[in-house]
């Protein structure tokens, strides 16, 4: 199972808890994880990736295993620790604004 940690506003929007568990088929990448996440929680469509361009929203970052994966290719494999469920993929909102 893939573990995803969402920012609080997206937990409220998707009515999930602090961590979401996902069964991802095939290669575990940013794209496959987010596709699975959005399919299970349609309210999240457009909130992490732009609804039309599918680009990561500029005020969000993807962290895992103490690395910033935000600028990796969406089709690059995520770290093995994420694929195995040992570590979560963290979707983090920028600390900005009020």
């Amino acid at each position: 199972m893939i573990r995803v940690i969402l920012p609080p506003h997206l937990r409220a929007l998707s009515r999930t808890g602090s961590e979401v568990m996902l069964e991802v088929e095939g290669l575990v990448t940013q794209r496959s994880v987010l596709d699975t996440l959005e399919a299970r929680y349609p309210a999240l469509c457009g909130t992490i990736r732009d609804r039309v361009t599918q680009q990561r929203r500029p005020f969000l970052r993807f962290f895992a295993c103490e690395q910033d994966l935000s600028h990796e290719s969406p089709d690059a494999p995520l770290p093995e620790a994420v694929a195995s469920g040992a570590e979560p993929l963290i979707v983090l909102g920028a600390i900005a604004g009020g």
Partner: protein, 371 residues
């Protein structure tokens, strides 16, 4: 007995304020969607329990929420606003070409007859329509493709389509307004559009009487007189007696004719309300006094309404969608401020009292009269 429900969008959530027809004791519900910018919340005239809300965030983009029980519960619906075809460019602040990009929904206008049909005015300016309760959205691209789009430019708040008025006497006629392009009208249900800005004069554009480029802040109509429109422009309060074909200035004796809101009494189509703001560089009421100005003569002659409103040390703004009227026999008038106050008048503006004083900055106020 009748009740009124005031729908308030703020910088940090939505609030629902309800009262009976006396409008002196209020229940406050909220914040709904706490922490999100709620640009607009509006109910369907065809089914008052059907509400639509625009929820947005710089972090997480645009969400559209729908309620079928008068705001007790909500569900997110469709949020895909894809421009029709290649969007092209509009003018940026410095006059250079800038690509059209979706940013947020400013205004939701439910159909007068079908609860599942709703229009959305968006930034960068375009008009969308959903006919399935907000699940799917299609652009009415004849507006953006009118031909003048490359000359439209953003106001300080962004290049937003903020006003949508559906003509109750002609389902094919819609009025919209864009900052800073101006007002437009369709007479064929949104297929084709034409600018309706003749008579506007704007010193801040190269040709002050240009066909497009005017920063229209808001337009209001009384449904009993759909050919008569009232406009608060960036500067100047204007009136049209021919559905926008021509405009005349009616600023008259206002202390300043800059402002954002304008609205019309529910039963007296020549009684109109504005809240003058000092200037485009000082977005607060003049002289520290919060005054609504009312004209009972369709413009030009205005009286300040001050009873119950702060008359010293007040420096709030009232944004373009933040005034509404109810349709009770004694017309109620409501407005919200950048300071988080929502004021109500149950006597057409003669006296005012705050419903709430300490909300986040108010972006929009709508009211439903429930019988």
């Amino acid at each position: 007995m009748s009740t009124v429900r005031v729908l308030v969008g703020t910088r940090k959530g939505a609030f629902v304020l309800t009262a009976d027809g006396k409008r002196d004791k209020w229940e406050v519900s909220g914040p709904h969607f706490a922490g999100w910018e709620m640009y607009h919340v509006k109910g369907s005239p065809a089914d008052p329990n059907r509400l639509y809300a625009s929820q947005s965030s710089g972090w997480f983009g645009q969400i559209i929420q729908r309620s079928s029980d008068g705001g007790e519960t909500w569900e997110p619906v469709g949020n895909k606003f894809a421009y029709d075809g290649v969007p092209g460019t509009h003018q940026w602040y410095d006059g250079t070409a800038h690509p059209w990009e979706f940013k947020r929904v400013w205004h939701l206008e439910p159909s007068l007859t079908d609860p599942d049909t709703v229009y959305a005015g968006i930034e960068d300016a375009a008009l969308f329509r959903s006919t399935d309760g907000g699940q799917n959205w299609q652009e009415l691209s004849g507006l953006r493709q009118h031909g003048s789009g490359p000359h439209w430019q953003p106001g300080a708040g962004g290049m937003c389509l903020h006003t949508i008025i559906l003509d109750p006497s002609d389902p094919q006629r819609i009025f919209i307004a864009i900052s800073a392009a101006g007002a437009f009208r369709t007479d064929d249900g949104g297929e084709t559009w034409r600018p309706i800005n003749r008579g506007l004069y704007s010193k801040y554009i190269p040709d002050p009487t240009a066909e497009v480029g005017h920063c229209v802040h808001h337009i209001a109509m009384n449904p009993s007189r759909p050919g008569v429109l009232f406009m608060q422009k960036h500067w100047d309060v204007m009136r049209s007696n021919d559905a926008g074909d021509s405009w005349q200035e009616i600023s008259g004796n206002l202390p300043t004719d800059f402002g954002f809101v304008i609205d019309v009494h529910a039963h007296e189509p020549e009684t109109i309300y504005v809240v003058p703001i000092k200037s485009d560089s000082e977005h607060f009421v003049p002289d520290g006094k919060l005054r609504v100005f009312r004209s009972r003569s369709g413009g030009n002659e205005w009286e300040p309404l001050t009873k119950g409103l702060p008359q010293s040390n007040c420096y709030v703004n009232v944004l373009r969608d933040a005034m509404a009227v109810d349709s009770l026999d004694e017309c109620g008038v409501y407005f919200g401020t950048s300071g988080g106050q929502v004021y109500a008048s149950a006597d057409a503006g003669d006296s005012w009292a705050p419903i709430v004083r300490d909300l986040p900055a108010v972006l929009s106020v709508e009211v439903q009269t429930l019988r």
